[in-house]
């Protein structure tokens, strides 16, 4: 059996293309043409596609697979335009290398950024195959059409892709204008989907994750780290540790200094012949820590300080009209404060990396969203050039943003260099929960002046949260432009007087990206507050929401003087279109039976709608609460406009999963600190939604669209918490303004 799991030292990219293979490379710089490549050293930058003389089409997946299906969907795009037979396509995972362009699989952007380049790569290869077949037959190219891994001549003759490789490689590279793209109707895979390439391996236990990588002679490491971020080691005694059979040695890893970035945190590593000996040995360590400057971090105190911050005027990040003057005119005022705690990613596979240092070269096998960050981080940690770091990307047992940070790979590399053997670092669940890059805690304050129809004439919103940038710059306390554009300064309601503000907050733990990021707390506050205003006006929630949203328009942020980074995309290409949000709201209302639903004791619908990652999402949650206050979610309806859909089944899967992820954080997700230490450690005190707590069924309604594809992995999360809390209000009359819901007694 051991042969199955041994990682080849050449890694997962087993197949170099054989001599004679046709290799194409898609360039990512807009406006640049594709190039046929003669030599391997010219494969940059980009995704590439090759055809072997035996007809096998090899497509390299350069993005990381953490469950979204991207390792299948992007290659499928190229295969479809090529008109390849999917059964004869082999997907190879790329190593980390800047030549591929961006490999950081985050921000729900893989399809958005790479759909077009992969289409072009496929269409280019197809045209070259058709032209080479035409040349072989001596007929006009219009007579030759690629179909299912062959080029078919209208006179009935056929040549397989493999037979055409040599002559196709000599073809002039066609320009963009010469390419013909398939219509939606012509696509066999795009818009239909195929089974994910790893499906069989997953169901039989053969799939390889970072934690599964194995090398002969490797040691297993478990690392004791300071319980408080920035704490320093006072003393440690490893005598008892070394009495554990299988323990080889302990190694001191130097403590990181702020800003922590992706550095290895430091600590005492126990290295052993197997995982259990390493963990047992670590348990026997006698360690004392000096807690350091973060030892005063207490979540309850911090919550109060954040709320105090948002009660005071703060930095203005968006301003329309004159909010103060409107408030001064009097009328009905509605105010509310919201709070969302820290969250931990808790990927089912904890962070794990295998590293082998040999003669100044490090080879890493790890579950990473960001192999180039692994190269950079490891290079810096070891004082070598990043070109000397090879990073093989395994499957990821969940990512959610945790595995875009490379700290655990640096740990493995440092240890391998110190001991001269391959070393695998595996974080225990306790390590994972206690030393995460946490989703930021946040407080929000909203205030509105209401007219006689219950509509806001003035709207003020303030938020404060330790920003992600604090992980890279200790002085950073204000929200970054990206965070603030995540559902805060892009509130879509055309209210004549509107101001958004952001206050400072200092971080005491490493803050990081977490599936849908700042949208979670911003959408919770805004979508709850809208529901509060609708309730105060005694109006139907969806009717009220659509009334506030107004006639369809593109929000002109530059004209109003608001800086909106818009997820890194130009607003003219991906405008904020309120009409698209309206359509998904209308769709979800229809599909959930919103208008015809009769009130029931202990059961109600809750609604929220939110744009994130350029996608428009509306959710209706059907919530039930029994007399003991126990909550269940019989049904969720999600209507989505994500532009053109490449793989509908995986899109549905992402929104089904996001409904569970969002329900989990809303119902029970909370990380707290006391004296600087994280108080949770495993699934008993940091619970995740289980099968009976998750929505029983989620129905995903995809709005047909020819617009450019937008994000799918994250945008399903933000509307869940407010939709659930809005449903709870409908049942109980209790307004939840602080997550998680289980902090509030409902009966």
């Amino acid at each position: 059996m051991s042969g199955v799991v041994r990682v080849s030292r050449r890694g997962f990219l087993k197949a170099s293309f054989s001599v004679g293979a046709l290799i194409l490379c898609a360039r990512f710089m807009p406006g640049q043409a594709l190039e046929t490549l003669a030599a391997a050293d010219m494969w940059q930058p980009g995704v590439y596609l090759g055809i072997e003389p035996d007809g096998t089409v090899i497509i390299v997946a350069h993005r990381s697979e953490m469950g979204t299906g991207i390792r299948t969907a992007l290659p499928m795009v190229a295969a479809d335009e090529l008109d390849a037979d999917w059964r004869r396509v082999r997907v190879e995972q790329a190593l980390g290398d800047p030549k591929y362009g961006d490999q950081n699989t985050d921000g729900s952007k893989s399809i958005r950024d790479f759909y077009e380049p992969l289409r072009r790569a496929g269409a280019t290869a197809r045209l070259m195959l058709e032209r080479s077949a035409a040349a072989v037959w001596g007929v006009p190219v219009v007579q030759c059409r690629a179909h299912n891994h062959q080029v078919v001549n209208s006179d009935g003759r056929i040549l397989g892709f493999g037979e055409l490789v040599t002559s196709a490689a000599r073809q002039r590279l066609p320009g963009m204008a010469e390419l013909r793209f398939k219509t939606s109707a012509e696509c066999r895979y795009v818009g239909h989907g195929v089974a994910i390439v790893d499906l069989g391996d997953i169901c039989t236990g053969k799939a390889i994750y970072g934690i599964d990588a194995r090398l002969p002679g490797m040691l297993y490491a478990s690392i004791e780290r300071s319980p408080v971020l920035g704490g320093t080691l006072k003393s440690y005694d490893g005598k008892e540790t070394r009495t554990i059979k299988g323990v080889r040695r302990t190694v001191l890893l130097e403590a990181a200094r702020p800003p922590y970035g992706f550095q290895a945190l430091g600590g005492i590593a126990v290295l052993a012949d197997n995982s259990w000996a390493a963990m047992e040995g670590r348990r026997k360590l006698k360690v004392t820590w000096e807690a350091g400057p973060n030892s005063d971090y207490d979540s309850e105190t911090f919550r109060k300080s954040l709320l105090a911050t948002v009660r005071q005027p703060q930095k203005v990040v968006r301003n329309i009209g004159d909010v103060e003057a409107a408030f001064a005119r009097g009328g009905t005022i509605h105010e509310a404060e919201y709070y969302v705690p820290h969250l931990a990613h808790a990927t089912m596979e904890p962070p794990a990396a295998l590293a082998e240092y040999h003669n100044g070269i490090v080879t890493i096998w790890t579950a990473t969203q960001n192999p180039q960050a692994v190269q950079e981080t490891v290079a810096k940690a070891l004082g070598i050039d990043k070109s000397s770091v090879r990073c093989h990307v395994t499957l990821l047992g969940g990512g959610f943003g945790r595995k875009s940070k490379a700290d655990y790979a640096a740990e493995a590399a440092l240890l391998s260099k110190k001991v001269g053997k391959p070393v695998q670092v595996t974080w225990s669940r306790e390590d994972d929960i206690r030393h995460d890059y946490y989703h930021s805690v946040a407080a929000m304050y909203l205030k509105a002046a209401i007219d006689d129809k219950g509509r806001p004439t003035a709207w003020l919103q303030r938020c404060a949260f330790p920003p992600i940038s604090s992980t890279f710059d200790v002085s950073a306390t204000y929200g970054g432009d990206g965070e603030l554009a995540q559902g805060w300064l892009d509130v879509p309601f055309p209210i004549p007087n509107l101001r958004a503000e952001n206050g400072p907050a200092r971080a005491h733990v490493r803050i990081g990206w977490f599936r849908s990021v700042a949208n979670i707390y911003h959408a919770f506050a805004v979508q709850s507050f809208i529901d509060e205003l609708a309730a105060a006006a005694g109006r139907d929630r969806i009717e009220y929401f659509l009334d506030l949203l107004g006639p369809p328009r593109s929000i002109d942020f530059p004209a109003e003087g608001t800086k909106n980074p818009n997820y890194g995309k130009p607003l003219d290409q991906y405008p904020w279109e309120t009409g698209r949000l309206r359509r998904v709201v209308e769709l979800v209302a229809e599909k959930s039976g919103w208008a015809t639903r009769k009130p029931q004791k202990g059961r109600a619908l809750g609604f929220a709608a939110h744009r994130s990652f350029l996608s428009y999402i509306a959710v209706v949650v059907d919530l039930r609460m029994d007399e003991q206050g126990r909550i269940s979610i019989p049904r969720v309806d999600v209507a989505v406009d994500v532009g053109r859909v490449i793989h509908p089944e995986r899109v549905r899967a992402q929104f089904e999963g996001a409904a569970v992820f969002g329900a989990s954080l809303a119902l029970m997700g909370e990380i707290t600190a006391a004296k600087g230490s994280i108080q949770q450690s495993n699934f008993h005190d940091y619970p995740l939604a289980r099968i009976s707590e998750a929505p029983f069924e989620t129905h995903v309604h995809i709005l047909p669209s020819d617009a450019a594809p937008t994000g799918v992995g994250e945008p399903g999360v933000p509307p869940m918490a407010p939709a659930i809390c809005n449903a709870l209000f409908a049942i109980t009359g209790t307004r939840i303004r602080r997550l998680p819901i289980n902090k509030t007694t409902l009966t």
Partner: protein, 153 residues
């Protein structure tokens, strides 16, 4: 050192290491059966679930000494050709997302179907309650079990 005998996927093995070591690490680090996953080390998440004498068991909290003489089946041994009805149903329903927890989910579900060939939704939820899926594939897990069992959704 005293030797301990056990059967894993129909193959007899003898073990002479620390009898307190959890079965999980023997499977993963010694036998290289990496399909069984570590998730929590406390029996809280179900990722490490295997069958011990037919019963779904958390291998992360099951010591080697307690499995002496027992028959262990891991995901690698659930079927010869990866064609257990649940494995087929899992593929039919496209259950996995990241896939990491699915070995444990499948082993737990296999034990359920042995005990209750036609489970109800409530029985499925009860049996699968100990298996966490962070990707949130629960509704498809339920669907997959029902498909394998021939129970209408």
């Amino acid at each position: 050192m005293k030797k301990l005998l056990l059967s894993v996927n129909g193959v007899r093995h003898s073990f002479s290491g620390n009898p307190e070591m959890p079965l999980l690490w023997y499977l993963r680090d010694t036998l290289q059966l990496i399909g069984t996953k570590y998730g929590c080390g406390k029996g809280l998440c179900g990722a490490c679930t295997v069958l011990i004498n037919g019963e779904a068991t958390r291998s992360c909290i099951t010591s080697m000494k307690s499995v002496a003489g027992k028959k262990i089946v891991t995901i690698e041994g659930l079927s010869q050709a990866g064609d257990h009805p649940l494995q087929k149903a899992w593929q039919e329903c496209n259950v996995p997302q990241c896939g990491y927890c699915q070995s444990g989910q499948l082993m737990q579900a296999a034990a359920l179907l042995k005990a209750k060939p036609k489970p109800t939704d409530a029985e499925i939820d009860e049996a699968m309650q100990g298996n966490i899926c962070r990707c949130g594939t629960y509704q498809r897990i339920r669907q997959g079990i029902k498909l394998a069992a021939g129970v209408k959704s």
